[in-house]
């Protein structure tokens, strides 16, 4: 019988939620027995395929984030918003009061110490930033929210094991944290 497939991704994230996933420590061996990893920063797969569970870290800050999120929604049966950024934009959403054009100009053009002629990168290869950072549920349907900045390893483990058992991953109070 084939094992359940899990995909993971970091959008406008810091990879901290993935580090917290790794914090389940030896339980990673148990997880490796239970599941197969699809696209993830921990595997080499470039595209997400049909999966049972998708874990999304980070909010949406640019066009590529939106595209990848939509791919995940198409392919994953259950999508989990992992961490404060995916849930409400998180600390990156503190840029929402500022004009993105001015922010880019301040960093790439007007900042002291830049080489002569530095300007805002404009290669089409680069994804354009969105005017504001958004939580992922504003773009696709999200099945479960796993709060925390990051969620603790125990919270991630409780959520994963519940989903793999076909249970509702409702967290007990001590595992719910937003900070």
């Amino acid at each position: 019988m084939s094992r359940p497939r899990i995909a993971t991704v970091s959008l406008a994230g810091c990879f901290g939620c993935h580090m917290s996933l790794l914090d389940i420590d030896e339980r990673l061996f148990a997880l490796a027995e239970l599941v197969e990893f699809d696209r993830s920063p921990l595997t080499d797969l470039k595209e997400v395929g049909p999966c049972d569970i998708g874990l999304i870290e980070g909010g949406l800050c640019n066009a590529e984030n939106v595209e990848v999120l939509r791919d995940f929604r198409r392919q994953c049966r259950v999508l989990v918003a992992v961490g404060a950024c995916a849930i409400n934009g998180g600390l990156p959403a503190q840029r929402n009061g500022r004009d993105i054009g001015r922010l880019m100009a301040e960093v790439y053009h007007a900042r002291p110490g830049l080489a002569e002629g530095s300007g805002i990168p404009n290669d089409p290869e680069l994804p354009l930033p969105l005017a504001r950072v958004h939580p992922i549920h504003e773009v696709v349907h999200i099945d479960h929210f796993l709060p925390g900045c990051p969620p603790s390893a125990d919270a991630i483990w409780a959520c994963l094991t519940a989903l793999l058992d076909g249970r509702d991953p409702a967290l007990p109070r001590p595992l719910i944290r937003y900070d």
């Binding site: 934009g89 600390l91 409702a170 109070r173 937003y178 900070d179």
Partner: protein, 223 residues
């Protein structure tokens, strides 16, 4: 004549003039709330203390206790309502707990933990009000204000300074400072005033005292 009402099947004694929440709290029960303080007049703003009184929803902080009332507090439909109210309060402000100095000691956050709130279901409003850091000892971030009016009432009812008020309409309702410039520095507030300390969230904070309590030892941390 009986001088008790029924709260989730338990008799709660009350005194004449008591509200449901005042009597229940004195008797050792917990009714979730954010804008109520026994020292101040009622506000009825947060709606978190909504209970069912004889089958109808009512705010426990503005409902007078009466002999024989049947009050339900811990029911699943009420708990679900509380989660929704809390979600509304979160999306209305910029509640980025990971960098808020009130985290771990915040009534809004701990009410949301207790209600089992994990994520929002509505769009974020992302207000962008300027921080007021003009006062030497205090600072004000109204993007975290839940309009509970505890500061407004503390400042009018306890010390008579009347430093705070509520201005604007609808979603643009916000806290304002009574001073010629509208800035905290030009008001009569002192850091020792109850109005400066009563804020249940991270909207009114003391300066130069943040992140002083280790995680695990903060007032709302669970073991």
């Amino acid at each position: 004549m009986s001088t008790t009402f029924d709260l989730d099947g338990q008799p709660v004694p009350f005194q004449p003039g008591d509200t449901v929440i005042a009597a229940a709290t004195r008797a050792g029960h917990t009714i979730p709330h954010l804008c109520w303080d026994p020292r101040l007049g009622p506000s009825g703003a947060c709606r978190l203390c909504t209970v069912e009184v004889n089958g109808r929803p009512a705010a426990a902080c503005t409902t007078r206790a009466l002999a024989g009332l049947r009050v339900a507090c811990q029911t699943e439909p009420l708990q679900q309502r509380r989660r929704q109210l809390l979600q509304m309060m979160f999306v209305e402000g910029n509640h980025f707990c990971p960098s808020c100095e009130k985290s771990g000691g915040c009534a809004l956050q701990s009410a949301a933990y207790a209600a089992g709130m994990t994520g929002p279901q509505w769009e974020e409003f992302y207000p962008q009000r300027a921080v007021d850091a003009s006062h030497p000892a205090l600072w004000l971030d109204t993007n975290r204000c839940i309009l509970c009016k505890l500061c407004v009432r503390a400042s009018t009812e306890l010390d008579g300074k009347g430093v705070f008020a509520i201005g604007g309409h609808g979603i643009h309702t916000h806290l304002i400072v009574h001073s010629p410039s509208g800035r905290l520095a030009d008001s009569a507030i002192a850091a020792t005033d109850e109005a400066a300390q009563i804020c249940p969230v991270g909207a009114i904070l003391p300066k130069r005292r943040g992140f002083a309590v280790p995680i695990g030892e903060r007032p709302q941390d669970t073991p």
